[in-house]
């Protein structure tokens, strides 16, 4: 870095990192839920958890983005130009994708609520939701019953969203650490693995018994985390042997100014520790043991969750590991943003 | 109350700078054509006036056209006919345009009370009290205890100050020169009769020894240097530091600081030994060449290599380059650096530089050194405007016979009781001319200190009376003459109305003081009348000059026949004046006063000008200070490998200790500096309470060992400082 040079991480700070992370995690949660719906339709809690957390996550992400774009925040009508201004801009394409994904995710969350209502014995719900679910107007029946093709469309948009969050910074040629083919894959993988983590976290907090059925999810999650570690290594490896600026980014992360959060928050807490725990847990499940947390709740007990038992459900080791993985996903994006260096354009001779 | 209101209004104006930025953002709202139409419309509404005047960012006083938009200064463009600017303005010149609107400006006459606070008073009271006090002091001690100090570039202050002092009967007028270029002036004056200009554009081989055109800027010189470089000239920079000239130069010769004299002596040796000098020129114009040639016989390049650290081969290469390209070759006379005021051997370095140029026979030649032609100026008609006689009293600094005035001696003269009252104009003697801590104690002993300034400077803080001047954009000044191949007259004139009603131009202030001191009869004219009288012999009217700003007189100089104004009328290889003053008539090698002991971790602290600052004057300017901040311009340069051995990283804080004081600063690691030196840019470390410059680094002057003056020229030897560093 030359004296006086601004770094891209100073232009786009933690807010953008948070946005990239939330949008990615939302897409991951939707994907987890969709896969669950298709492959393990009996694991309702996991499906519902994923579908329900997806829309608020992406909406919070969008709100943070709007706050960061201050000129638009103070002149909201300017956001309109996002749709007509420059359709070939990655960010505009992203806006189109999010414009589709967000309502689709919201829609699937409503359908999930209807499923929950039905599953829970059609009790009275606030806001007259029970009446709406019981007798929806004819033209809104699909809204309550659900449509498979709409869910699939949501999946497509979820994958597009995750990809877009990576391409948004991957398309910045000025920053070689971002502009490479590894980063998008890394971001998509990370989006999926954090999506699984938030879904499992929510599902476990809701009903600890679902832990008994974690095995396939943990298989997927551990493979994704392993892949993530490998991709991270590959990104750093190729950056080190790449452009001067990319090399500086690698140095920043490995032993430079970002080394501490990189090794502790990302590699150890965000990836290695959850990975190790999940591998252990999966072995445990495959061996036929009942997870400790699930065992604490008597089988067949369908009582609603009470305050007293919520705490262990949130803070059991497995839950903490999910949280670590989630935080790791944010740290990954933030560190990669901070580690970006603009290309060095001074002559070298 | 009035004062408060005004300052608040100015503050609003200052913030208007930021609001103005809005208009830029709006740029692309329309297509090019509509946008242009819109802008043109806006500009039709804007009242834009263009006033030709002079800059005041340094002593060059470049000519510029100031654009005033709706009564507010907007921008400036250089006047192409002005020889110093050649149509170009440096960063300081642009940034300084904000001066009239700065919040820290003085707005009312101030009087220092018993408790040290300042009370606003009226001009009448200020003049009356100052006049009475001057008369009282003159009666009590005699007129010789009164002195006047001004910036030598400021002709108005010099002219009026001298007239006032002469009227009062004192000869003691001082300028800042001894803190700047007196070493060079003394060296050249007593060798070749004056300091010549340089014909850079036509030179083929140039050596710059500690003269840094890229940071001690004269825009016209940089312009000529670029032209010369384009034509293939060789440009050699001899400097312990790779300064900003590096990019324009063809060779950088890093030299051990303080040893420039050895380098030049060796150049003379090679030129004479190899017969590369202009024998005909030396024969016709030289005096005492034989003695000089004999003296330099021992100064071989090998001898110089030992001292300077510059390889003998490099010295020979430079000498041959000069010799082969003569007379279109020169060593620049320098300004403030090694020939000006830095070392105990500075005067001898300047003399030797003058002599090497004589060996090249380049005086009054194209591409060489040229004594310019000055415009003929008239004077006021003494019948109508009585002029005071030059006082017969000796000057207080008369133990120095070679320089004209030694401002650095003032603190000692105050301590001795030889000076009791001082009027200071456009100058900051406490901060700049001696160690400020030493000077401050001395200036406190004065019975009367009057400071005319636009800011509350370090000196103003000690004054009994502070008189607020208008800024350079709000006043007329005495006409300036610039010598050169063609003589030039230039005028500073008012570009905008007064920002603060209770400020006055210098000439009015002098008149007010003179009237109150009982010598008003010598000031019975306005500045316009004075300027008209001065302009009369040039055939220009004041109105013509006001319309043009800068006028080149069409009476070109004839090159080829130099006229050396020395006692012998020749180039004095053997200086009769030095002999008479009791100094070595031949410049022989003389080591610097102090040498750092590298084995003890000592460094020589060297300093220099920064391209975007002129002393503490500009460290109050937000535009220029922003550059310092952005580019870390206040860091101490240190050789990278030396620093790494000391465990220092870029931006680390260190404590710098000299025998006089300690200071704190951040370091800048670089390969472009001699390992035995550390370097700091000069303008920082203000001591004034309201100066933003105090937040930046330190002033090298505070580390200057107390009071050592060169016996030859009175310079303060500002680079004779040995320091040690400690990481904090």
């Amino acid at each position: 870095m030359y004296p006086g040079q601004i770094m891209p991480g100073q232009i786009w700070g933690w807010i953008i990192a948070l946005y990239l992370f939330l949008a990615g995690m939302s897409a991951g949660a939707y994907t987890t839920a969709y896969l669950s719906q298709r492959l393990y339709p009996h694991l309702k809690v996991i499906r519902w958890s994923g579908y329900i957390v997806a829309p608020p996550l992406v909406i919070i992400g969008l709100v943070t983005l709007m706050i960061d774009a201050e000129a638009g925040f103070f002149h909201p009508w300017r956001f309109f130009f996002l749709y007509i201004g420059n359709p070939s801009s990655i960010m505009a394409i992203g806006v189109y994708i999010l414009t589709l994904f967000t309502p689709l995710a919201l829609y699937r969350a409503v359908v999930s609520l209807a499923e929950i209502w039905r599953d829970g014995g059609e009790k009275k719900w606030p806001l007259g939701l029970d009446r709406f679910f019981a007798r929806p107007p004819e033209w809104l029946r699909w809204f309550v019953e659900g449509r498979g093709w709409i869910d699939f469309l949501g999946l497509v948009m979820a994958v597009a969203t995750a990809t877009y969050t990576a391409l948004l910074i991957g398309n910045i040629h000025a920053v070689p650490f971002w502009n490479n083919s590894i980063l998008p894959v890394l971001f998509v993988v990370s989006a999926f693995s954090t999506g699984i983590a938030i879904t499992l976290f929510t599902a476990t907090a809701w009903d600890p018994k679902v832990q008994e059925h974690y095995a396939p999810y943990l298989a997927l999650s551990t493979s994704l985390k392993g892949l993530e570690l490998f991709l991270l290594f590959a990104l750093l490896y190729f950056s080190w042997y790449g452009d001067q600026a990319a090399k500086a980014s690698t140095a920043d992360l490995l032993w430079g100014r970002l080394a501490l959060p990189f090794w502790i928050l990302l590699v150890v807490l965000g990836l290695a520790l959850p990975l190790r725990y999940e591998l252990q847990e999966r072995k445990h499940l495959l061996a036929g043991h009942v997870p400790a947390l699930a065992a604490s709740v008597p089988a067949g007990d369908k009582r609603p969750v009470d305050a007293g038992s919520l705490s262990p459900r949130l803070f059991a080791t497995s839950q903490i590991m999910h949280l670590f993985a989630i935080v790791g996903g944010f740290v990954l994006r933030y560190l990669i943003l901070l580690a970006g260096h603009f290309v060095y354009f001074l002559p070298t001779w | 109350m009035l004062e408060e209101k005004i300052s608040r209004r100015t503050f609003l104006k200052a913030t208007a700078l930021a609001v103005g930025a809005l208009s830029v953002g709006a740029v692309g709202t329309f297509s090019f054509e509509t946008w242009k139409g819109k802008r043109a419309e806006a500009e039709r509404k804007d009242d834009i006036r263009v006033i030709p005047t002079l800059c005041a960012a340094c002593s060059n006083y470049c000519g510029l056209n100031v654009y005033v938009k709706n009564g507010r200064v907007w921008r400036a463009v250089g006047l192409p006919q002005h020889p110093k600017s050649k149509g170009k303005i440096c960063a300081r010149g642009h940034g300084l345009l904000a001066t009239p609107y700065l919040r820290q400006r003085l707005t009312q006459p101030l009087k220092r009370m018993e408790d040290g606070s300042f009370q606003p008073i009226s001009w009448e009271q200020a003049f009356r009290e100052i006049g009475e006090k001057l008369q009282e002091i003159r009666t009590k001690y005699g007129p010789g205890v009164i002195a006047h100090i001004s910036y030598s570039g400021r002709k108005t202050a010099r002219w009026y100050g001298e007239r006032l002092l002469w009227a009062l009967g004192s000869p003691n007028t001082f300028t800042h020169d001894a803190s700047c270029n007196t070493g060079r002036v003394v060296g050249f004056e007593h060798t070749v009769g004056g300091t010549p200009g340089t014909d850079i554009a036509n030179a083929r081989y140039m050596v710059y020894m500690g003269r840094n055109l890229a940071e001690g800027i004269t825009p016209g010189d940089v312009f000529e240097l670029a032209k010369a470089r384009e034509k293939g000239a060789q440009i050699v920079v001899v400097d312990p530091r790779g300064n900003n000239m590096y990019q324009m130069a063809t060779k950088w010769v890093p030299i051990r600081p303080g040893t420039d004299l050895a380098f030049v002596l060796a150049l003379a040796h090679v030129l004479i030994r190899e017969g590369l000098y202009d024998a005909a020129f030396v024969k016709e114009y030289g005096y005492g060449f034989e003695q000089f040639a004999q003296a330099v016989e021992k100064y071989t390049p090998q001898w110089a290599e030992e001292i300077t650290g510059v390889p003998a081969a490099t010295i020979e290469e430079v000498a041959r380059g000069l010799g082969k390209n003569k007379p279109r070759a020169f060593i620049h006379p320098g300004w403030r650096g090694p020939t000006g005021n830095s070392y105990a051997n500075s005067v001898d370095t300047a003399r030797t530089v003058a002599l090497v140029n004589a060996l090249l026979g380049n005086y009054q030649k194209e591409g060489g050194l040229i004594f310019g032609k000055n415009p003929p100026f008239g004077n006021l008609d003494p019948a109508k405007y009585p002029a005071p006689e030059k006082p017969a009293l000796p000057r207080v600094d008369n133990e120095w016979t070679l320089p004209h005035n030694v401002v650095t001696a003032v603190p000692d003269k105050i301590r001795d009781g030889a000076l009791k009252a001082i009027i200071v104009n456009s100058s900051n003697p406490v901060m700049h001319y001696n160690n400020p801590l030493y000077a401050r104690e001395a200036y406190k002993l004065l019975e009367l200190l009057v400071v005319v300034d636009i800011f509350m400077s370090e000196t103003a803080e000690l004054a009994h009376y502070v008189l607020p001047e208008v800024s350079y954009l709000e006043r007329d000044d005495v006409v300036e003459g610039i010598g050169g191949k063609k003589p030039v007259v230039a005028l500073r004139q008012q570009a905008i109305g007064k920002i603060h009603p209770e400020t006055k131009a210098s000439w009015e202030i002098y008149r007010g003081i003179a009237e109150a001191a009982g010598v008003g009869k010598y000031f019975n004219f306005t500045i316009d009348e004075l300027n008209q009288a001065m302009l009369a012999p040039t055939g220009l009217s004041l109105n013509e000059l006001k319309a043009e700003g800068t006028v080149v007189l069409n009476s070109p100089l004839l090159l080829g026949t130099p006229n050396f104004e020395t006692p012998t009328g020749k180039v004095e290889f053997y200086s009769t004046n030095f002999k008479a003053a009791g100094f070595d008539p031949i410049p022989n090698w003389k080591p610097p006063l102090v040498m750092p002991d590298v084995s003890k971790g000592e460094f020589r602290l060297i300093n220099g000008r920064q391209a975007y600052h002129s002393h503490t004057n500009t460290t109050r300017n937000p535009y220029l200070l922003a550059l310092t901040e952005h580019y870390h311009g206040d860091r101490l340069w240190i050789n990278r490998r030396v620093a790494e051995r000391m465990g220092l990283k870029e931006g680390d804080w260190v404590e710098v200790r000299s025998e006089a004081a300690t200071a704190r600063v951040q370091v800048h690691l670089t390969e472009a500096i001699h390992p035995e030196a550390v370097f700091i840019y000069a303008p920082y470390g203000s001591l004034a309470k309201d100066a933003p410059g105090r937040n930046f680094a330190f002033s090298f002057m505070t580390l200057l060992p107390y009071h050592k003056l060169d016996p030859v020229s009175g310079i303060a030897m500002t680079q004779e400082i040995v320091v040690t560093l400690r990481k904090i």
């Binding site: 891209p8 232009i11 774009a69 201050e70 000129a71 638009g72 300017r78 130009f81 996002l82 201004g85 420059n86 801009s89 960010m91 505009a92 806006v95 910045i172 040629h173 290309v343 354009f345 001074l346 001779w349 | 700078l17 930025a21 809005l22 208009s23 830029v24 953002g25 740029v27 692309g28 709202t29 297509s31 946008w35 242009k36 043109a40 400036a76 250089g78 149509g87 170009k88 303005i89 440096c90 960063a91 010149g93 642009h94 890229a214 800027i217 940089v222 312009f223 670029a226 790779g242 590096y246 990019q247 324009m248 975007y612 535009y623 200070l625 922003a626 580019y631 050789n639 500096i673 001699h674």
Partner: protein, 179 residues
């Protein structure tokens, strides 16, 4: 229509920052906002050192990433190939700032929109030179029309073999450097 470009001959650049400050006044910028920034790099070890000090501003690329990436079309290429920003469309997402390899854009804290060098084009249209060119002490800067083969600009570019910064990025900058 002309295709405006510039040449900066570093062998004539004193690194004095006159361009930076004159540009601030010309465009009424606050003191801390610079359109022209200087970058310094040194090579080698004492006493054999080379230094380079480069002024960099908006390069007015022919393929400007800022314009291509701008989601609202606020950044655009105006007549004369000058890259401009239409503030009334700008949402302040700063994508252009991160996209610019030359670090040329700065954020206007008042409007929250980016700003940058505009080649002083309103003055250029009236026959003036951009302010940085007018004030450059060593006349290191040459401004002109790249489409005009007779222009001083094109002559010097060819003569001095001037190159843009990082042509490999494919942005086709219109400022050419000599070093």
């Amino acid at each position: 229509m002309a295709r405006y470009g510039m040449l900066i001959d570093l062998t004539k650049c004193a690194g004095c920052m006159a361009c930076t400050v004159s540009c601030q006044l010309q465009n009424d910028l606050p003191p801390e906002v610079h359109f022209i920034k200087f970058y310094q790099q040194e090579y080698g070890t004492f006493p054999v050192v080379s230094l380079v000090n480069i002024p960099v501003q908006c390069q007015h690329c022919e393929k400007p990433p800022c314009v291509y990436n701008c989601p609202t079309g606020a950044s655009y290429i105006a007549d004369g190939g000058v890259v401009l920003l239409n503030e009334s469309k700008c949402i302040g997402c700063k994508y252009c700032m991160t996209s610019c390899p030359y670090n040329a854009r700065v954020l206007n804290e008042e409007t929250h929109t980016p700003m940058k060098c505009i080649f002083c084009f309103d003055h250029v249209k009236e026959g003036e030179q951009p302010m940085c060119v007018q004030t450059c002490l060593g006349e290191a800067r040459v401004f002109g029309d790249l489409d005009d083969p007779e222009s001083e600009l094109n002559k010097q570019i060819n003569e001095k073999k001037a190159r843009p910064l990082r042509p490999d990025l494919g942005t086709k900058p219109k400022i050419f450097y000599v070093w």
